[in-house]
């Protein structure tokens, strides 16, 4: 009886210790984010003073939304956010369509050369984007464009230069191909016998049952596009086309106001965090499936 009690107490202590570890580690991950949000409501002087104590993580003292107002006055934040959302939405949308179409073709249809083309696409997965950024810069600088102003040469400083190169991506094609290949062949054969065209099979049969892989591809592309930094830094020189990450530079011109920077960081991060918290299962699963690609 007594022995059982001791074991019970040890067990309880073990549970507490486990939770304590989990919470302690959790604080390491959460504190910088709390610091960002809390600081965005503080005037500069207090913000810098508070970093020397726990007050850095508490919304105390002179709390206001002044930083937000001033940040909006200083930089065309609305413009930056619109650019980011537009660039991300268009590349995710077109990417889902074209990459899933290609995945369907690779997984379901038979055509000569298919195996080799797919092998080459998968092989490109090991090319880091950073290694092609410089030559890509040269290429887009010479590409023609036919837009509202007529025929122009060079894509620098535009939306298309931030969208078109990223629509197709090897990882998405690979994920779609895998997913479609694992679907039961009978579904497709039945539709063929009913006289459906390939396009109809893709659109009416496969797309409706492929929610998970579309979600995975969308989330991975959303994160990659929204958080892009190197490429827009090189190609979006004028503020008209700048996305949010490059817009940050604005806050380092003239006098640096830390409160405004914190407000800006909060504005561009919190929507993503909310999106993540709402769909966290899907986010975590898509990362897991992207990692298993090797």
């Amino acid at each position: 009886m007594q022995a059982k009690n001791v074991r019970g107490r040890n067990y309880r202590l073990g549970i507490y210790a486990r939770y304590a570890t989990l919470i302690l580690i959790g604080l390491i991950f959460i504190f910088p984010i709390v610091f960002m949000i809390v600081s965005s409501f503080k005037p500069d002087l207090q913000l810098l003073r508070d970093t020397s104590s726990l007050r850095a993580f508490l919304p105390v003292g002179d709390i206001s939304v002044d930083n937000y107002i001033e940040a909006f006055e200083r930089a065309p934040i609305g413009r930056f956010i619109f650019n980011s959302v537009f660039i991300t939405a268009v590349s995710v949308g077109l990417g889902l369509f074209l990459n899933s179409l290609a995945g369907f073709s690779f997984a379901v249809l038979e055509w000569p050369g298919k195996t080799i083309v797919l092998a080459v696409i998968i092989a490109t997965l090991i090319i880091p984007f950073e290694t092609i950024a410089i030559p890509l810069l040269l290429i887009v600088n010479f590409l023609p464009w036919f837009g509202l102003e007529g025929f122009t040469q060079g894509w620098l400083d535009s939306y298309q230069v931030q969208i078109i190169p990223f629509i197709a991506d090897a990882l998405s094609v690979f994920l779609f191909t895998q997913f479609f290949r694992d679907l039961p062949k009978e579904i497709i054969e039945a539709a063929r016998i009913d006289g459906a065209s390939w396009w109809q099979i893709y659109q009416r049969v496969l797309v409706p049952i492929s929610g998970p892989v579309f979600a995975t591809a969308a989330i991975l592309k959303f994160l990659a596009m929204y958080n892009q930094f190197l490429w827009p830094l090189m190609v979006a020189q004028s503020e008209e086309f700048r996305p949010v990450m490059v817009g940050l530079q604005y806050f380092f011109q003239l006098n640096v106001a830390w409160g405004e920077i914190m407000a800006y960081l909060t504005i561009i991060t919190v929507p993503v965090l909310i999106f993540y918290l709402a769909l966290q299962r899907a986010f975590i699963e898509s990362i897991a499936s992207s990692g298993v690609k090797g």
């Binding site: 959790g26 910088p32 490109t124 950073e130 290694t131 990450m245 960081l265 991060t269 993503v272 990692g291």
Partner: protein, 374 residues
């Protein structure tokens, strides 16, 4: 005669229609895959091949002069290294000359590396590192000391980050894989930095690493009851790279925790039950059930982190811009500096090609290692 013809048409009819169907399928297949293939070709494969070509020229982004083929000159400029032994200055009797502090004096290095007709192979080289060997000084000279610094830093970054991040990620995965109520909340929190842009993370951590009242200095001084002397983490060459490493691990560890987790979940529960019946304790289960089941995941994770770490760029750009004293230079940062900021497309491409060759070498190692494990 009439009969034979009808027969022939009849027997060949299904054949042609089958062939037709096949052609149609091939056509549809090409049509559907074509947009993605063309885009990948134009914006991935062509620039990739271009990188090799451009690295053999003197191409600039905008230049009045025509582009010329220069062979391997860009690579030679990047990779030319030589050892050189400096002998001490000697007086008339052959004894080394000592300076006021009693140190051995050496001739100035620039006497050899600046247009010295006796040492043409050293022309234009700069000191990268030097060691004292007996009375002589052994100097490692590099034509591009900054690039070498970048190469070395990136390799250090990878070698430190890969095991550290993989290890912490496994630890976190084991923690959140426990059967505890609410454990998913912690999984969600640990993963959170992964969805935040590295730009934002780098900005935030500048506050943490600040030399005066930074959060880290305040924390360390509070924990040590004021005994800790504040460190300018990003401002001193000894700590800058380490600080970037710690932050990168913080940002990326959740990503690999998730991959470990999916590996953990492939281990059948019956194995643990069997181990329990056989009387195994927690550590033994970890050692003999969990770890063998994770081997493939381990290889995968190490490779993924290695590949990701080689593209170290954003942290450097936002936090240190390569400084202080080049202590945080990185390969990609150098490629961008030259290819974009100095508009030297050829030089930047050469660095990119070198980076790709390193990454390729590692992924060949990967397929070799995974084959062995099976």
């Amino acid at each position: 005669m009439f009969d034979a013809r009808t027969k022939a048409t009849l027997s060949s009819a299904p054949k042609t229609s089958r062939g037709n169907r096949k052609n149609k399928e091939a056509f549809a297949g090409w049509l559907m895959a074509a947009p993605a293939i063309i885009l990948l070709l134009t914006f991935l494969i062509v620039p990739f091949i271009f990188a090799f070509g451009l690295s053999l020229t003197n191409q600039r982004l905008i230049s009045p002069n025509p582009t010329e083929y220069v062979g391997l000159r860009n690579y030679k400029r990047l990779l030319n290294v030589r050892f050189f032994t400096l002998k001490p200055l000697v007086d008339a009797e052959g004894n080394p000359v000592l300076d006021e502090e009693g140190q051995i004096s050496y001739p100035r290095l620039r006497n050899f590396t600046r247009n010295n007709p006796d040492y043409p192979q050293l022309n234009g080289l700069r000191e990268f590192k030097s060691w004292q060997v007996g009375k002589n000084r052994l100097v490692l000279l590099a034509s591009d000391a900054v690039f070498f610094r970048a190469l070395l830093n990136t390799i250090i970054f990878v070698i430190v980050v890969a095991p550290l991040q993989a290890g912490f990620a496994l630890l976190l995965a084991l923690l959140v894989n426990q059967r505890l109520r609410g454990v998913n909340v912690f999984r969600m929190i640990y993963f959170m930095p992964v969805v935040i842009s590295m730009v934002v993370v780098s900005m935030l951590w500048r506050f943490i690493y600040d030399g005066n009242d930074g959060l880290l200095n305040s924390l360390l001084s509070a924990v040590s009851f004021g005994a800790f002397q504040p460190v300018d983490w990003l401002g001193s060459p000894q700590t800058a790279l380490g600080s970037i490493i710690a932050m990168s691990v913080w940002q990326g560890v959740g990503f690999h925790m998730v991959i470990w987790l999916s590996g953990l979940q492939t281990i059948p529960f019956v194995l643990y039950e069997a181990a329990s019946i056989a009387g195994a304790n927690g550590w033994q289960k970890l050692r003999y059930v969990t770890w063998p089941g994770l081997r493939n995941t381990a290889v995968l994770i190490l490779i993924v982190i290695t590949m990701q770490s080689f593209s170290l760029y954003t942290q450097v750009q936002v936090m240190t811009r390569g400084g202080p004293l080049d202590s945080t230079q990185a390969i990609v940062f150098q490629a961008v500096q030259r290819g974009f900021e100095k508009q030297d497309i050829a030089g930047g491409s050469a660095i990119s090609v070198l980076l790709f060759l390193i990454v390729l070498f590692i992924s060949i190692m990967q397929s070799y290692l995974t084959r062995e494990k099976r």
